[in-house]
Amino acid sequence: MIFGQIFDDFQGLVDAAGNQAIISSIFLSLYAGFLATLIALVLGAPAGYILARFDFPGKRLVESIIDVPVVVPHTVAGIALLTVFGSRGLIGGPLENYIRFRDALPGIVVAMLFVSLPYLANSAREGFKSVDPRLENAARSLGAPLWKAFLFVTLPLSARHLLIGSIMTWARAISEFGAVVMIAYYPMIGPTLIYDRFLSYGLSASRPIAVLLILVTLSIFIVIRVLSAGWSIYDRD
Protein backbone atom coordinates (compact mmCIF):
# COMPACT_ATOMS: atom_id res chain seq x y z
CA MET A 1 0.00 0.00 0.00
CA ILE A 2 2.82 2.38 0.96
CA PHE A 3 4.80 1.68 -2.22
CA GLY A 4 1.63 1.73 -4.33
CA GLN A 5 0.86 5.17 -3.01
CA ILE A 6 4.42 6.45 -3.49
CA PHE A 7 4.88 5.14 -7.05
CA ASP A 8 1.34 5.52 -8.45
CA ASP A 9 0.17 8.69 -6.76
CA PHE A 10 3.08 10.51 -5.15
CA GLN A 11 1.40 13.83 -5.84
CA GLY A 12 -1.59 12.70 -3.74
CA LEU A 13 0.75 12.06 -0.81
CA VAL A 14 2.37 15.48 -1.20
CA ASP A 15 -1.04 17.13 -1.35
CA ALA A 16 -2.13 15.27 1.78
CA ALA A 17 1.03 16.38 3.60
CA GLY A 18 0.22 19.96 2.70
CA ASN A 19 -3.42 19.77 3.75
CA GLN A 20 -4.08 21.55 7.04
CA ALA A 21 -7.03 19.34 8.08
CA ILE A 22 -5.13 16.11 7.43
CA ILE A 23 -1.99 17.25 9.24
CA SER A 24 -3.91 18.47 12.27
CA SER A 25 -5.88 15.21 12.49
CA ILE A 26 -2.65 13.18 12.40
CA PHE A 27 -1.12 15.51 14.96
CA LEU A 28 -4.23 15.13 17.13
CA SER A 29 -3.83 11.33 16.95
CA LEU A 30 -0.22 11.54 18.09
CA TYR A 31 -0.94 14.16 20.75
CA ALA A 32 -4.01 12.45 22.24
CA GLY A 33 -2.12 9.13 22.16
CA PHE A 34 0.77 10.77 23.97
CA LEU A 35 -1.53 12.15 26.68
CA ALA A 36 -3.18 8.76 27.06
CA THR A 37 0.26 7.15 27.43
CA LEU A 38 1.31 9.66 30.10
CA ILE A 39 -1.85 8.98 32.10
CA ALA A 40 -1.37 5.24 31.56
CA LEU A 41 2.15 5.54 33.01
CA VAL A 42 0.85 7.33 36.08
CA LEU A 43 -1.91 4.75 36.61
CA GLY A 44 -0.37 1.61 35.14
CA ALA A 45 3.13 1.70 36.60
CA PRO A 46 2.04 1.72 40.26
CA ALA A 47 -0.58 -0.95 39.49
CA GLY A 48 2.11 -3.03 37.81
CA TYR A 49 4.40 -2.58 40.81
CA ILE A 50 1.72 -3.69 43.26
CA LEU A 51 0.89 -6.73 41.12
CA ALA A 52 4.58 -7.64 40.80
CA ARG A 53 5.52 -7.26 44.46
CA PHE A 54 2.53 -8.03 46.63
CA ASP A 55 0.22 -10.96 47.07
CA PHE A 56 -3.30 -10.16 48.13
CA PRO A 57 -6.70 -11.84 47.95
CA GLY A 58 -8.37 -11.22 44.60
CA LYS A 59 -5.10 -10.58 42.75
CA ARG A 60 -6.12 -12.92 39.90
CA LEU A 61 -9.42 -11.06 39.58
CA VAL A 62 -7.65 -7.70 39.35
CA GLU A 63 -5.30 -9.09 36.71
CA SER A 64 -8.27 -10.35 34.70
CA ILE A 65 -10.08 -7.03 34.95
CA ILE A 66 -6.99 -5.23 33.66
CA ASP A 67 -7.10 -7.44 30.57
CA VAL A 68 -10.81 -6.83 29.87
CA PRO A 69 -10.28 -3.91 27.42
CA VAL A 70 -8.19 -6.22 25.23
CA VAL A 71 -11.04 -8.66 24.72
CA VAL A 72 -14.18 -6.49 24.42
CA PRO A 73 -15.11 -5.19 20.96
CA HIS A 74 -14.12 -1.57 20.81
CA THR A 75 -17.56 -0.35 19.90
CA VAL A 76 -18.69 -1.94 23.17
CA ALA A 77 -15.89 -0.12 24.96
CA GLY A 78 -17.07 3.10 23.30
CA ILE A 79 -20.64 2.59 24.48
CA ALA A 80 -19.47 1.78 27.99
CA LEU A 81 -17.27 4.88 28.07
CA LEU A 82 -20.04 7.04 26.69
CA THR A 83 -22.33 5.75 29.44
CA VAL A 84 -19.82 6.65 32.13
CA PHE A 85 -18.31 9.81 30.66
CA GLY A 86 -21.36 11.20 28.83
CA SER A 87 -23.08 14.32 30.18
CA ARG A 88 -25.37 12.18 32.36
CA GLY A 89 -22.79 9.52 33.20
CA LEU A 90 -21.28 8.51 36.49
CA ILE A 91 -18.13 10.57 35.93
CA GLY A 92 -19.14 12.81 33.03
CA GLY A 93 -22.26 14.09 34.87
CA PRO A 94 -20.64 15.64 37.96
CA LEU A 95 -17.75 16.99 35.87
CA GLU A 96 -19.99 18.49 33.18
CA ASN A 97 -19.30 22.09 34.15
CA TYR A 98 -15.55 21.61 34.20
CA ILE A 99 -14.68 19.15 31.50
CA ARG A 100 -16.53 17.84 28.45
CA PHE A 101 -15.77 14.38 27.12
CA ARG A 102 -18.32 14.03 24.31
CA ASP A 103 -16.85 15.26 21.00
CA ALA A 104 -13.78 16.73 22.69
CA LEU A 105 -10.12 15.94 23.29
CA PRO A 106 -10.72 14.52 26.81
CA GLY A 107 -13.15 12.00 25.29
CA ILE A 108 -10.56 10.89 22.74
CA VAL A 109 -7.92 10.53 25.46
CA VAL A 110 -10.26 8.52 27.72
CA ALA A 111 -11.15 6.15 24.88
CA MET A 112 -7.50 5.69 23.94
CA LEU A 113 -6.52 5.21 27.58
CA PHE A 114 -9.17 2.56 28.15
CA VAL A 115 -8.04 0.34 25.30
CA SER A 116 -4.29 0.80 25.80
CA LEU A 117 -3.82 0.77 29.58
CA PRO A 118 -3.53 -3.06 29.79
CA TYR A 119 -0.41 -2.99 27.62
CA LEU A 120 1.34 -0.62 29.97
CA ALA A 121 0.19 -2.26 33.19
CA ASN A 122 1.25 -5.72 31.99
CA SER A 123 4.57 -4.53 30.65
CA ALA A 124 5.30 -2.61 33.87
CA ARG A 125 4.41 -5.68 35.93
CA GLU A 126 6.81 -7.85 33.93
CA GLY A 127 9.49 -5.18 34.21
CA PHE A 128 9.22 -4.87 37.98
CA LYS A 129 9.06 -8.64 38.35
CA SER A 130 12.39 -8.92 36.54
CA VAL A 131 14.09 -6.82 39.24
CA ASP A 132 15.23 -9.00 42.15
CA PRO A 133 13.43 -7.82 45.32
CA ARG A 134 16.71 -8.38 47.14
CA LEU A 135 18.17 -5.38 45.32
CA GLU A 136 15.39 -3.29 46.83
CA ASN A 137 16.00 -4.86 50.22
CA ALA A 138 19.70 -4.06 49.96
CA ALA A 139 18.86 -0.45 49.12
CA ARG A 140 16.43 -0.22 52.03
CA SER A 141 18.95 -1.61 54.46
CA LEU A 142 21.43 1.02 53.25
CA GLY A 143 18.98 3.67 54.43
CA ALA A 144 16.68 4.25 51.46
CA PRO A 145 12.95 4.61 52.12
CA LEU A 146 10.72 2.61 49.77
CA TRP A 147 10.22 5.46 47.29
CA LYS A 148 13.95 6.09 46.95
CA ALA A 149 14.69 2.38 46.53
CA PHE A 150 12.04 2.39 43.80
CA LEU A 151 13.31 5.55 42.14
CA PHE A 152 17.04 4.74 42.15
CA VAL A 153 17.05 0.97 41.84
CA THR A 154 13.82 -0.61 40.61
CA LEU A 155 12.82 2.06 38.13
CA PRO A 156 16.14 2.30 36.23
CA LEU A 157 16.37 -1.49 36.07
CA SER A 158 12.89 -1.81 34.61
CA ALA A 159 13.12 1.30 32.43
CA ARG A 160 13.33 -0.66 29.21
CA HIS A 161 10.20 -2.64 30.01
CA LEU A 162 8.43 0.62 30.82
CA LEU A 163 9.63 2.22 27.61
CA ILE A 164 8.53 -0.74 25.49
CA GLY A 165 5.22 -0.74 27.36
CA SER A 166 4.83 2.97 26.66
CA ILE A 167 5.56 2.51 22.95
CA MET A 168 3.01 -0.31 22.78
CA THR A 169 0.51 1.83 24.66
CA TRP A 170 1.04 4.80 22.40
CA ALA A 171 0.85 2.63 19.31
CA ARG A 172 -2.36 1.04 20.54
CA ALA A 173 -3.79 4.46 21.39
CA ILE A 174 -2.98 5.90 17.94
CA SER A 175 -4.49 2.90 16.20
CA GLU A 176 -7.78 3.07 18.12
CA PHE A 177 -10.85 3.89 16.07
CA GLY A 178 -13.96 2.12 17.34
CA ALA A 179 -14.06 3.45 20.89
CA VAL A 180 -12.98 6.95 19.87
CA VAL A 181 -15.53 7.32 17.14
CA MET A 182 -18.35 6.45 19.55
CA ILE A 183 -17.42 9.05 22.15
CA ALA A 184 -15.86 11.75 19.93
CA TYR A 185 -16.38 11.78 16.15
CA TYR A 186 -15.13 15.35 16.29
CA PRO A 187 -12.46 16.65 16.51
CA MET A 188 -11.28 14.06 14.00
CA ILE A 189 -8.25 11.95 14.74
CA GLY A 190 -6.37 10.33 11.84
CA PRO A 191 -8.36 7.08 11.67
CA THR A 192 -11.68 8.93 11.92
CA LEU A 193 -10.68 11.25 9.09
CA ILE A 194 -9.63 8.29 6.95
CA TYR A 195 -12.99 6.63 7.58
CA ASP A 196 -14.84 9.88 6.89
CA ARG A 197 -12.98 10.51 3.60
CA PHE A 198 -13.45 6.89 2.55
CA LEU A 199 -17.23 7.08 3.03
CA SER A 200 -17.48 10.45 1.28
CA TYR A 201 -14.89 10.22 -1.52
CA GLY A 202 -13.66 6.61 -1.70
CA LEU A 203 -10.32 4.85 -1.62
CA SER A 204 -8.20 7.27 -3.64
CA ALA A 205 -9.04 10.10 -1.24
CA SER A 206 -8.45 8.15 1.98
CA ARG A 207 -5.34 6.16 1.05
CA PRO A 208 -2.84 9.07 1.07
CA ILE A 209 -3.91 9.96 4.62
CA ALA A 210 -3.53 6.34 5.70
CA VAL A 211 -0.03 6.11 4.21
CA LEU A 212 0.97 9.43 5.74
CA LEU A 213 -0.24 8.30 9.20
CA ILE A 214 1.73 5.08 8.90
CA LEU A 215 4.90 6.82 7.73
CA VAL A 216 4.81 9.39 10.54
CA THR A 217 4.18 6.90 13.35
CA LEU A 218 6.62 4.33 11.94
CA SER A 219 9.46 6.85 11.82
CA ILE A 220 8.78 7.98 15.39
CA PHE A 221 8.87 4.38 16.65
CA ILE A 222 12.08 3.63 14.77
CA VAL A 223 13.76 6.68 16.29
CA ILE A 224 12.68 5.69 19.83
CA ARG A 225 13.86 2.11 19.35
CA VAL A 226 17.24 3.22 18.06
CA LEU A 227 17.72 5.71 20.89
CA SER A 228 16.82 3.11 23.55
CA ALA A 229 18.83 0.22 22.08
CA GLY A 230 21.61 0.66 24.65
CA TRP A 231 19.23 0.27 27.59
CA SER A 232 19.01 -3.48 27.38
CA ILE A 233 22.31 -4.19 29.17
CA TYR A 234 20.76 -4.42 32.63
CA ASP A 235 17.90 -6.66 31.62
CA ARG A 236 18.11 -9.94 33.39
CA ASP A 237 15.82 -11.80 31.08
Binding site: N137, A138, A139, S141, L142, G143, A144, P145, Y234
Partner: protein, 348 residues
Protein backbone atom coordinates in the same frame (compact mmCIF):
# COMPACT_ATOMS: atom_id res chain seq x y z
CA UNK B 1 22.74 -5.61 71.12
CA UNK B 2 19.98 -7.47 69.30
CA UNK B 3 17.18 -8.96 71.37
CA UNK B 4 14.68 -11.30 69.75
CA UNK B 5 11.67 -12.21 71.85
CA UNK B 6 9.30 -15.07 70.98
CA UNK B 7 9.50 -14.37 67.26
CA UNK B 8 7.13 -16.30 64.98
CA UNK B 9 6.54 -15.90 61.28
CA UNK B 10 5.13 -18.05 58.51
CA UNK B 11 6.50 -17.50 55.00
CA UNK B 12 5.67 -19.78 52.08
CA UNK B 13 6.82 -23.21 53.26
CA UNK B 14 9.04 -21.89 56.06
CA UNK B 15 7.97 -21.03 59.56
CA UNK B 16 9.91 -19.61 62.45
CA UNK B 17 8.45 -20.77 65.69
CA UNK B 18 8.64 -18.82 68.95
CA UNK B 19 12.29 -17.97 68.66
CA UNK B 20 14.14 -16.02 71.36
CA UNK B 21 17.76 -14.97 71.12
CA UNK B 22 20.06 -12.31 72.49
CA UNK B 23 23.14 -11.15 70.63
CA UNK B 24 25.58 -9.02 72.60
CA UNK B 25 27.22 -5.90 71.21
CA UNK B 26 30.53 -6.61 69.53
CA UNK B 27 29.85 -10.31 69.25
CA UNK B 28 30.59 -12.40 66.15
CA UNK B 29 27.46 -14.49 66.24
CA UNK B 30 26.86 -17.33 63.80
CA UNK B 31 23.48 -18.84 63.07
CA UNK B 32 24.07 -22.37 61.89
CA UNK B 33 21.50 -24.61 60.31
CA UNK B 34 20.78 -26.78 57.31
CA UNK B 35 19.29 -25.35 54.11
CA UNK B 36 15.61 -24.61 54.60
CA UNK B 37 15.87 -24.12 58.36
CA UNK B 38 14.59 -20.53 58.11
CA UNK B 39 17.92 -18.78 58.71
CA UNK B 40 17.55 -16.21 55.93
CA UNK B 41 13.96 -15.52 56.99
CA UNK B 42 15.20 -14.82 60.53
CA UNK B 43 17.86 -12.45 59.23
CA UNK B 44 15.34 -10.68 56.96
CA UNK B 45 12.99 -10.25 59.92
CA UNK B 46 15.79 -8.68 61.95
CA UNK B 47 16.53 -6.38 59.00
CA UNK B 48 12.85 -5.43 58.77
CA UNK B 49 12.17 -6.74 55.27
CA UNK B 50 9.22 -8.66 56.69
CA UNK B 51 7.07 -8.15 59.76
CA UNK B 52 6.79 -11.00 62.24
CA UNK B 53 3.41 -12.60 62.95
CA UNK B 54 4.18 -12.25 66.64
CA UNK B 55 7.09 -11.42 68.91
CA UNK B 56 9.42 -8.45 69.25
CA UNK B 57 12.82 -7.35 67.95
CA UNK B 58 14.89 -4.81 69.88
CA UNK B 59 18.09 -3.25 68.62
CA UNK B 60 20.14 -1.55 71.33
CA UNK B 61 17.08 -1.48 73.54
CA UNK B 62 14.85 0.20 70.94
CA UNK B 63 11.92 -1.75 69.59
CA UNK B 64 12.09 -1.99 65.79
CA UNK B 65 9.66 -4.86 65.20
CA UNK B 66 7.38 -2.95 62.86
CA UNK B 67 9.70 -0.16 61.72
CA UNK B 68 10.70 -0.04 58.03
CA UNK B 69 14.16 -1.49 57.15
CA UNK B 70 15.83 1.92 56.81
CA UNK B 71 15.08 2.61 60.48
CA UNK B 72 16.72 -0.59 61.75
CA UNK B 73 20.18 0.92 61.81
CA UNK B 74 22.01 -2.09 60.45
CA UNK B 75 23.25 -3.27 57.08
CA UNK B 76 22.32 -6.50 55.37
CA UNK B 77 24.67 -8.18 52.91
CA UNK B 78 23.09 -10.89 50.79
CA UNK B 79 24.68 -14.13 49.66
CA UNK B 80 24.78 -12.90 46.05
CA UNK B 81 25.86 -9.43 47.34
CA UNK B 82 22.96 -7.70 45.50
CA UNK B 83 25.10 -4.99 43.97
CA UNK B 84 23.14 -2.57 41.82
CA UNK B 85 23.99 -3.67 38.27
CA UNK B 86 23.25 -0.28 36.70
CA UNK B 87 25.69 1.61 38.92
CA UNK B 88 29.49 1.62 38.87
CA UNK B 89 31.33 0.29 41.92
CA UNK B 90 31.82 3.88 43.08
CA UNK B 91 28.11 4.71 42.68
CA UNK B 92 27.23 1.51 44.53
CA UNK B 93 29.37 2.54 47.48
CA UNK B 94 28.04 6.07 47.33
CA UNK B 95 24.44 4.87 47.44
CA UNK B 96 24.38 4.35 51.19
CA UNK B 97 26.39 7.56 51.69
CA UNK B 98 23.78 9.51 49.72
CA UNK B 99 20.96 7.96 51.74
CA UNK B 100 22.67 8.77 55.03
CA UNK B 101 24.01 12.14 53.83
CA UNK B 102 27.68 11.27 54.24
CA UNK B 103 29.68 13.51 51.92
CA UNK B 104 33.30 12.60 52.61
CA UNK B 105 35.10 11.28 49.51
CA UNK B 106 38.13 10.54 51.73
CA UNK B 107 36.08 8.02 53.58
CA UNK B 108 35.09 6.28 50.36
CA UNK B 109 38.73 6.10 49.28
CA UNK B 110 39.86 4.93 52.69
CA UNK B 111 37.42 2.02 52.72
CA UNK B 112 38.14 1.21 49.07
CA UNK B 113 41.85 1.06 49.82
CA UNK B 114 41.34 -1.03 52.92
CA UNK B 115 39.24 -3.54 50.96
CA UNK B 116 41.62 -3.37 47.98
CA UNK B 117 38.98 -2.28 45.47
CA UNK B 118 40.27 1.23 44.72
CA UNK B 119 41.25 0.12 41.21
CA UNK B 120 37.71 -1.16 40.55
CA UNK B 121 35.78 2.02 41.32
CA UNK B 122 34.83 2.75 37.70
CA UNK B 123 33.95 -0.83 36.82
CA UNK B 124 30.47 -2.34 36.82
CA UNK B 125 29.49 -5.12 39.24
CA UNK B 126 28.58 -7.73 36.62
CA UNK B 127 32.17 -7.62 35.36
CA UNK B 128 33.70 -8.45 38.77
CA UNK B 129 34.71 -11.79 40.29
CA UNK B 130 32.83 -13.19 43.29
CA UNK B 131 35.51 -12.11 45.74
CA UNK B 132 35.63 -8.60 44.29
CA UNK B 133 31.84 -8.34 44.41
CA UNK B 134 31.90 -9.34 48.04
CA UNK B 135 34.46 -6.69 48.91
CA UNK B 136 32.42 -4.07 47.07
CA UNK B 137 29.30 -5.15 48.98
CA UNK B 138 31.23 -4.88 52.25
CA UNK B 139 32.57 -1.46 51.28
CA UNK B 140 29.06 -0.32 50.40
CA UNK B 141 27.84 -1.55 53.77
CA UNK B 142 30.73 -0.32 55.93
CA UNK B 143 31.02 3.17 54.48
CA UNK B 144 27.79 4.05 56.31
CA UNK B 145 29.40 3.16 59.67
CA UNK B 146 26.89 0.56 60.79
CA UNK B 147 27.24 -0.98 64.22
CA UNK B 148 25.52 -4.16 63.15
CA UNK B 149 26.30 -6.19 60.05
CA UNK B 150 24.01 -9.00 58.90
CA UNK B 151 25.68 -11.50 56.59
CA UNK B 152 23.64 -14.07 54.67
CA UNK B 153 25.92 -16.99 53.76
CA UNK B 154 28.76 -14.59 52.96
CA UNK B 155 31.28 -17.23 51.94
CA UNK B 156 29.23 -19.82 50.13
CA UNK B 157 29.44 -18.16 46.71
CA UNK B 158 33.25 -18.02 46.81
CA UNK B 159 35.82 -20.57 45.71
CA UNK B 160 37.81 -22.23 48.52
CA UNK B 161 40.90 -20.01 48.20
CA UNK B 162 38.92 -16.79 48.18
CA UNK B 163 36.87 -18.15 51.08
CA UNK B 164 39.95 -18.30 53.24
CA UNK B 165 40.94 -14.68 52.64
CA UNK B 166 37.31 -13.57 53.00
CA UNK B 167 37.12 -15.29 56.40
CA UNK B 168 40.19 -13.42 57.57
CA UNK B 169 38.84 -10.18 56.17
CA UNK B 170 35.53 -10.56 58.00
CA UNK B 171 37.20 -11.36 61.30
CA UNK B 172 39.59 -8.45 60.85
CA UNK B 173 36.71 -6.08 60.08
CA UNK B 174 34.80 -7.32 63.09
CA UNK B 175 37.73 -6.61 65.37
CA UNK B 176 38.85 -3.28 63.87
CA UNK B 177 35.39 -1.73 63.52
CA UNK B 178 34.03 -3.26 66.74
CA UNK B 179 31.04 -4.51 64.77
CA UNK B 180 28.29 -6.74 65.96
CA UNK B 181 28.18 -9.38 63.25
CA UNK B 182 25.34 -11.79 62.67
CA UNK B 183 26.48 -14.36 60.14
CA UNK B 184 24.37 -17.23 58.86
CA UNK B 185 25.76 -20.37 57.34
CA UNK B 186 25.11 -24.05 56.81
CA UNK B 187 28.82 -24.83 57.06
CA UNK B 188 29.84 -26.06 60.50
CA UNK B 189 33.55 -25.55 59.88
CA UNK B 190 32.92 -21.91 59.00
CA UNK B 191 30.85 -21.51 62.17
CA UNK B 192 33.46 -23.14 64.33
CA UNK B 193 36.32 -21.04 63.01
CA UNK B 194 34.56 -17.68 63.05
CA UNK B 195 32.00 -17.60 65.82
CA UNK B 196 32.18 -16.19 69.32
CA UNK B 197 28.86 -17.91 69.86
CA UNK B 198 26.70 -20.13 67.67
CA UNK B 199 22.95 -20.67 67.51
CA UNK B 200 21.77 -23.83 65.82
CA UNK B 201 18.44 -23.51 64.02
CA UNK B 202 16.55 -26.41 62.54
CA UNK B 203 13.03 -26.48 61.06
CA UNK B 204 12.41 -22.93 62.21
CA UNK B 205 13.25 -23.70 65.82
CA UNK B 206 16.20 -22.63 67.92
CA UNK B 207 17.81 -25.85 69.12
CA UNK B 208 20.99 -24.80 70.89
CA UNK B 209 22.99 -21.66 71.66
CA UNK B 210 26.52 -21.64 72.95
CA UNK B 211 30.22 -21.12 72.35
CA UNK B 212 31.58 -23.34 69.56
CA UNK B 213 33.08 -25.86 72.03
CA UNK B 214 29.68 -26.45 73.58
CA UNK B 215 27.95 -26.89 70.25
CA UNK B 216 30.55 -29.22 68.79
CA UNK B 217 31.50 -31.16 71.89
CA UNK B 218 28.17 -31.25 73.68
CA UNK B 219 25.38 -31.14 71.13
CA UNK B 220 22.03 -31.21 72.92
CA UNK B 221 20.45 -33.84 70.72
CA UNK B 222 21.16 -36.26 67.94
CA UNK B 223 19.98 -33.89 65.18
CA UNK B 224 22.49 -31.25 66.23
CA UNK B 225 25.16 -33.88 66.66
CA UNK B 226 24.51 -35.23 63.19
CA UNK B 227 24.50 -31.80 61.69
CA UNK B 228 27.63 -30.42 63.31
CA UNK B 229 29.68 -33.23 61.91
CA UNK B 230 29.88 -36.19 64.22
CA UNK B 231 30.12 -38.35 61.20
CA UNK B 232 30.17 -41.56 63.12
CA UNK B 233 26.87 -42.17 64.83
CA UNK B 234 26.58 -45.58 66.48
CA UNK B 235 23.34 -46.83 67.89
CA UNK B 236 23.64 -49.13 70.86
CA UNK B 237 22.75 -50.19 74.39
CA UNK B 238 24.59 -49.51 77.63
CA UNK B 239 25.64 -52.84 79.11
CA UNK B 240 27.65 -51.55 82.06
CA UNK B 241 28.33 -48.27 83.79
CA UNK B 242 31.18 -47.84 86.23
CA UNK B 243 32.50 -44.52 87.58
CA UNK B 244 31.71 -42.60 84.42
CA UNK B 245 32.90 -45.30 82.06
CA UNK B 246 30.20 -46.84 79.89
CA UNK B 247 30.40 -50.00 77.89
CA UNK B 248 28.13 -49.83 74.90
CA UNK B 249 27.07 -52.74 72.77
CA UNK B 250 26.64 -51.76 69.14
CA UNK B 251 26.01 -54.59 66.72
CA UNK B 252 28.58 -57.25 67.53
CA UNK B 253 31.05 -54.78 68.98
CA UNK B 254 31.53 -53.32 72.38
CA UNK B 255 32.98 -49.85 72.79
CA UNK B 256 33.99 -47.84 75.83
CA UNK B 257 32.71 -44.33 76.29
CA UNK B 258 32.73 -41.75 79.05
CA UNK B 259 29.40 -40.52 80.35
CA UNK B 260 26.61 -41.12 82.80
CA UNK B 261 23.82 -43.37 81.65
CA UNK B 262 21.74 -46.10 83.16
CA UNK B 263 22.55 -49.65 82.25
CA UNK B 264 20.15 -50.91 79.62
CA UNK B 265 19.40 -47.51 78.07
CA UNK B 266 19.35 -47.18 74.29
CA UNK B 267 21.89 -44.57 73.28
CA UNK B 268 23.61 -42.91 70.35
CA UNK B 269 27.37 -42.71 70.48
CA UNK B 270 28.91 -39.92 68.41
CA UNK B 271 32.49 -39.97 67.31
CA UNK B 272 34.23 -37.33 65.23
CA UNK B 273 36.34 -38.67 62.35
CA UNK B 274 39.41 -36.67 63.42
CA UNK B 275 39.36 -38.39 66.82
CA UNK B 276 39.98 -41.80 65.31
CA UNK B 277 43.60 -42.91 65.22
CA UNK B 278 44.59 -45.49 62.62
CA UNK B 279 47.36 -47.87 63.50
CA UNK B 280 48.93 -50.98 61.96
CA UNK B 281 49.32 -52.71 65.31
CA UNK B 282 47.23 -52.88 68.42
CA UNK B 283 49.67 -51.45 70.94
CA UNK B 284 49.07 -51.06 74.64
CA UNK B 285 48.11 -47.49 75.44
CA UNK B 286 45.60 -45.42 77.30
CA UNK B 287 43.32 -45.59 74.28
CA UNK B 288 40.42 -47.77 75.41
CA UNK B 289 38.94 -48.66 72.04
CA UNK B 290 40.93 -50.54 69.46
CA UNK B 291 38.87 -52.17 66.74
CA UNK B 292 40.37 -54.34 64.05
CA UNK B 293 39.09 -53.74 60.56
CA UNK B 294 39.78 -53.36 56.89
CA UNK B 295 40.06 -50.17 54.85
CA UNK B 296 37.23 -50.02 52.32
CA UNK B 297 37.52 -46.51 50.86
CA UNK B 298 40.04 -43.66 50.77
CA UNK B 299 39.32 -40.10 49.66
CA UNK B 300 41.88 -37.34 49.53
CA UNK B 301 40.56 -33.95 50.69
CA UNK B 302 43.46 -31.56 50.17
CA UNK B 303 45.89 -32.06 53.05
CA UNK B 304 43.60 -34.57 54.72
CA UNK B 305 42.49 -38.06 53.84
CA UNK B 306 39.19 -39.58 54.78
CA UNK B 307 39.36 -43.30 55.37
CA UNK B 308 36.43 -45.63 55.65
CA UNK B 309 37.15 -48.65 57.84
CA UNK B 310 34.94 -51.70 58.19
CA UNK B 311 35.28 -53.11 61.71
CA UNK B 312 31.91 -54.84 61.79
CA UNK B 313 30.57 -51.32 61.91
CA UNK B 314 31.73 -48.74 59.40
CA UNK B 315 33.82 -45.90 60.81
CA UNK B 316 34.97 -42.73 59.05
CA UNK B 317 38.40 -41.52 60.08
CA UNK B 318 40.21 -38.35 59.11
CA UNK B 319 44.02 -38.43 58.98
CA UNK B 320 46.72 -36.40 57.29
CA UNK B 321 47.90 -37.29 53.83
CA UNK B 322 51.44 -37.81 55.11
CA UNK B 323 50.27 -40.42 57.63
CA UNK B 324 48.22 -42.18 54.98
CA UNK B 325 51.22 -42.36 52.66
CA UNK B 326 53.72 -43.39 55.33
CA UNK B 327 51.42 -46.12 56.63
CA UNK B 328 50.44 -47.30 53.16
CA UNK B 329 46.71 -46.98 53.62
CA UNK B 330 44.80 -48.35 50.62
CA UNK B 331 41.50 -50.15 50.26
CA UNK B 332 41.89 -53.74 51.48
CA UNK B 333 44.62 -53.03 54.03
CA UNK B 334 44.06 -54.46 57.49
CA UNK B 335 44.15 -51.83 60.23
CA UNK B 336 43.23 -50.91 63.81
CA UNK B 337 40.85 -48.01 64.42
CA UNK B 338 41.49 -46.59 67.88
CA UNK B 339 39.75 -43.89 69.83
CA UNK B 340 39.57 -42.74 73.41
CA UNK B 341 36.52 -43.32 75.53
CA UNK B 342 36.48 -39.59 76.28
CA UNK B 343 36.08 -38.68 72.63
CA UNK B 344 32.85 -40.65 72.36
CA UNK B 345 29.90 -38.40 73.08
CA UNK B 346 26.90 -40.34 74.29
CA UNK B 347 23.36 -39.11 73.95
CA UNK B 348 20.13 -40.80 74.79
Amino acid sequence: MIEIESLSRKWKNFALDNLSLKIESGEYFVILGPTGAGKTLLLELIAGFHSPDSGRILIDGKEVTHLPPEKHDLVFVYQDYSLFPHMSVKKNIEFGMRMKKIKSQDKLLEIANYLKIAHLLDRYPLKLSGGEQQRVALARALVTDPRILLLDEPLSALDPRTQESARELLLDLHKKKKLTVLHITHDQTEARIMADRIAVIMDGKLIQVGVPEEIFEKPVDSRVANFVGFENVLKGRVISADRGLLRIETGELIIDASGDMEVGSQVYAFLRPENIVLSKTSTQSSIRNSLQGRVTDVWTLGALVRVKVDCGITLNALITRQSAEEMGIFPGVSIYAQFKASSVHVLR
